[in-house]
């Protein structure tokens, strides 16, 4: 059987890729995608811990499904925000959207 740590390593790698994407991409959609990757890394952890630590109760799976649901909602809202920003400002580059300091 594959040891637990392998899953955690994969999840950590995925998380780092996502983090890098969220921090380094200039395109707001890229940032959103990075966030999705991070959420999925968390999901892998949840499922791995569920399978290896508490396989009898379904908490881990259920929690992962919650995360997926929330991620879907987040993506929908995020994309809606990006579309509305694009309509107003003709850009999806994160650095050019700096209205928050006002």
């Amino acid at each position: 059987m594959i040891p637990l740590s392998w899953f955690l390593i994969v999840a950590a790698i995925l998380f780092c890729i996502g983090l890098y994407g969220a921090l380094a991409r200039r395109n707001a959609i890229g940032i959103l995608m990075g966030i999705e990757l991070m959420l999925n890394a968390v999901n892998i952890n949840l499922i791995a811990f569920w399978r290896y630590v508490t396989p009898d109760v379904l908490t881990g799976q259920v929690f992962a499904i919650f995360v997926i649901t929330v991620a879907a909602a987040e993506a929908a809202i995020g994309l809606a925000l990006i579309i509305s920003i694009f309509r107003n400002r003709e850009t999806v580059i994160a650095e050019e959207i700096d209205m928050m300091k006002l």
Partner: protein
């Protein structure tokens, strides 16, 4: 077979890998991408042929044995496991012969047709992914994998219809196809869920065992489930009332129309019904199957009449496809399982041929409008002769493929339900007529638009046409009825023997066996030749000249009705779409009228209350306040001194400090979201560090 089944997973995986390789690595190299795609489909085709030929070699046993399985994945879901795998049985093998062969021809043809397109590589990546979906669907041994592949195809169809998304019409057509088929997909998913909860499995064989009990305990639910599954097929196979997306899908590149919207994806619905046949027949009286037959027959007839009045060369073929899919559904609905699958396979060959032929015409002429063509016979000889072969096959002229398969369906219909048989026969007549119209308009006469200089397509395009034409001419010989004079005993109807035993493990499945019926065959030959003759009389004897209206316009109202496709799109716009907008408006009005009014009312009330308390304020409170004020004034004179010297000192000091800190901190507030995120990440890391070392 047990060993060969190990090859099966690779059939869909090879194109899937190629899709990934093209997307990630070779996207920039157009030539390499297209060659990779063709290589992938050739490998898949070879694998399929190995399986097809070994199945044919083991023939008598193979048809009678149970399906051979290979489980790939076991997914634990609480107390049960969901097995995902592949299987080979006669139905799968039959499709494994057709799908990769047609796909391969279309891939090769696309090299020529898509030449010079700015998204050339992307096109090949998409069609590779599509092929994965179709092959996966064919080999799946459970509903879940089938559904996944089904959705992959739906997605690719959306991408490819909207492939030229700069054209608004293409973009909308893609959306329309996606949303319309989604209605069917939801129904199919509901059906799948019911089957899973009632039988505890999604694997076909287990489901078929389980539905027998369900049919006894809850026949109504069984009926609804079968209808829901059929709903999925209605969406995918463009049957009435969800057929509206298929004609619009012709906005995509022509190889896509041939690949997805004629030969493979749209037959997935028929395949699903064929695959799930036991759940339709398990109820006594087979009410679900009656629906299949009714919708199929209606679609076959209605779509064929619309095809008469279309001027776009591809739209004629699109309606013809809907009509032929209706034929297949009709055959399934009457229990003619073998006839339906036979027609599915022959139709794939000649319809792909016709579409690629029309693509070749469009490539040479630069227009879709048949009124602008004419006289292409001399200029595009390869295209003309292959197109003619496809047209005769579709019209059902003996001894081409379409004749044998269509006749088998009509023979079944004649025995099972004369009304359906009559509808099918009329549709056959109309089919022959509109195909003749198409050939006459496009290829005969003189060019109607002098500005168009047509030319024959390159060999990479017409060689696939020739291969498909050979299939369209000869394939029918696999399914000649055994009691047909001379040819029958000679060929022995191998196709029927191959498929007839598909469901014999389930004792409740009784499919009718219908033999050769000379009068039905004679009538259908007369119909086919009559349709062609009438078409030639109207369009062929005196070909249209430039600017001349279609002779059928004299039909008046009927012509307008057909030209506008029975106004189904308009009806949907007036009901479904208007309805959705209406509901949205209703909520908007509720917001405006009820919610806003309530808020305003509350506001008004508050205002009044404020006025009353204002009076009280002025007369009572103010008096008290003034009195207190006087005292306070005195006292404050004392405190003022303290204030100026002590408190102000402190406050000013604080102010200065805050201002200085703010001065420094404002550099952190950049307004850029990513800088904030970095701060969050660094803080979290610091906190983690603190926790670890405490």
């Amino acid at each position: 077979m047990e060993n060969l089944v190990r090859l099966v997973p690779f059939i869909p995986i090879v194109p899937l890998l190629t899709f990934a390789i093209i997307v990630v690595f070779t996207n920039r190299n157009k030539k390499l991408s297209s060659y990779l795609a063709v290589a992938a489909i050739v490998i898949s085709w070879l694998l399929c042929m190995v399986i097809v030929f070994s199945a044919v070699a083991h023939m008598p046993q193979f048809a009678g044995e149970e399906a051979v399985h290979l489980t790939l994945l076991r997914i634990p879901t609480g107390s049960r496991t969901l097995d995902i795998g592949v299987q080979i049985d006669p139905l799968t093998v039959a499709l494994l012969f057709m799908v990769p062969t047609v796909c391969m021809m279309i891939f090769i043809y696309s090299i020529g047709y898509m030449q010079g397109d700015p998204r050339y590589s992307r096109f090949f990546a998409y069609i590779c992914l599509f092929t994965t979906g179709m092959l996966g669907l064919v080999v799946a041994d459970n509903l879940l994998l089938l559904f996944i592949c089904w959705e992959v195809m739906g997605l690719c169809s959306y991408f490819l219809i909207g492939f030229w998304f700069e054209k608004p019409s293409a973009m909308w057509a893609g959306l329309k196809a996606f949303i319309t088929t989604r209605i069917g997909d939801v129904l199919l998913m509901l059906g799948m869920m019911i089957l899973y909860f009632q039988t505890g499995a999604l694997r076909f064989e287990t489901v078929f065992e389980g539905v027998e009990r369900l049919a006894e305990t809850n026949p109504d639910l069984m009926f609804i489930t079968a209808l829901l599954v059929f709903g999925g097929a209605v969406g995918k196979s463009a049957q009435f009332p969800l057929h509206v997306w298929l004609p619009d899908a012709m906005e995509g590149p022509t190889p896509v129309s041939a690949l997805i919207h004629a030969a493979t994806m749209v037959v997935a619905g028929v395949f699903l019904v064929a695959r799930m046949m036991p759940i339709f027949v398990v109820l006594a009286g087979m009410p679900a199957l009656t629906w299949v037959a009714a919708i199929g027959a209606f679609t076959a007839l209605a779509a064929s009449t619309i095809a008469i009045a279309q001027d776009d060369i591809k739209r004629v073929l699109a309606y013809s496809t809907i009509s032929q899919l209706g034929y297949m559904m009709m055959a399934l609905g009457l229990g003619g399982f073998v006839a339906a699958v036979f027609h599915l396979i022959t139709h794939a060959f000649f319809k792909a041929l016709l579409f690629l032929g029309s693509g070749s015409v469009i490539h040479g002429v630069g227009s879709n409008d048949m009124m602008e063509m004419g006289g292409l016979r001399k200029k595009m000889p390869y295209t003309f002769w292959t197109f003619l072969a496809g047209m005769l096959a579709l019209a059902g002229v003996p001894p081409l493929a379409g004749f044998w398969s269509k006749d088998e369906i009509l023979a079944v219909a004649f025995v099972q339900n004369p009304v359906v048989w009559a509808m099918g026969t009329i549709a056959a007549f109309i089919t022959a007529f509109y195909m003749t119209r198409q050939v006459c308009l496009a290829f005969l006469g003189k060019p109607r638009n002098p500005e168009i200089h047509a030319h024959e397509s390159p060999p990479v395009m017409y060689v696939p046409l020739i291969v498909l034409a050979v299939g369209a001419v000869l394939l029918g010989l696999l399914g000649v009825p055994e009691d047909f004079p001379f040819l029958g005993p000679l060929l022995g109807n191998p196709f029927h023997h191959f498929l007839a035993e598909q469901f014999h493990h389930w004792h409740y499945v009784h499919l009718p066996h219908v033999g050769f019926n000379a009068s039905v065959m004679l009538i259908s030959i007369v119909m086919a030749l009559g349709g062609i003759g009438l078409g030639y009389l109207i369009y062929g004897r005196k070909p249209l000249v430039a600017g001349q209206p279609d002779p059928l316009e004299r039909m008046g109202v009927i012509w307008t009705l057909l030209k506008n496709k029975y106004y189904v799109d308009e009806i949907y716009r007036a009901t479904v779409i208007r309805g959705a907008i209406g509901v949205a408006d209703l909520f908007f009005m509720f917001d405006q009228d009820v919610v806003d009014r309530t808020v305003n009312l509350v506001g008004k009330g508050t205002e009044r209350l404020a006025w009353v308390s204002g009076l009280f304020d002025i007369h009572v409170i103010d008096g008290l306040v003034n009195l207190a004020g006087k005292f306070t004034e005195r006292w404050s004179w004392v405190t003022r001194l303290f204030d100026i010297h002590v408190i102000d000192g402190i406050v000013n000091g604080l102010g200065r400090v805050t201002s200085a800190v703010g001065q420094e901190l404002r550099y952190i507030q950049t307004g850029r979201v990513q800088n904030y995120m970095i701060i969050v990440v660094v803080s979290v890391l610091l906190l983690v560090g603190v926790f670890l070392y405490m």
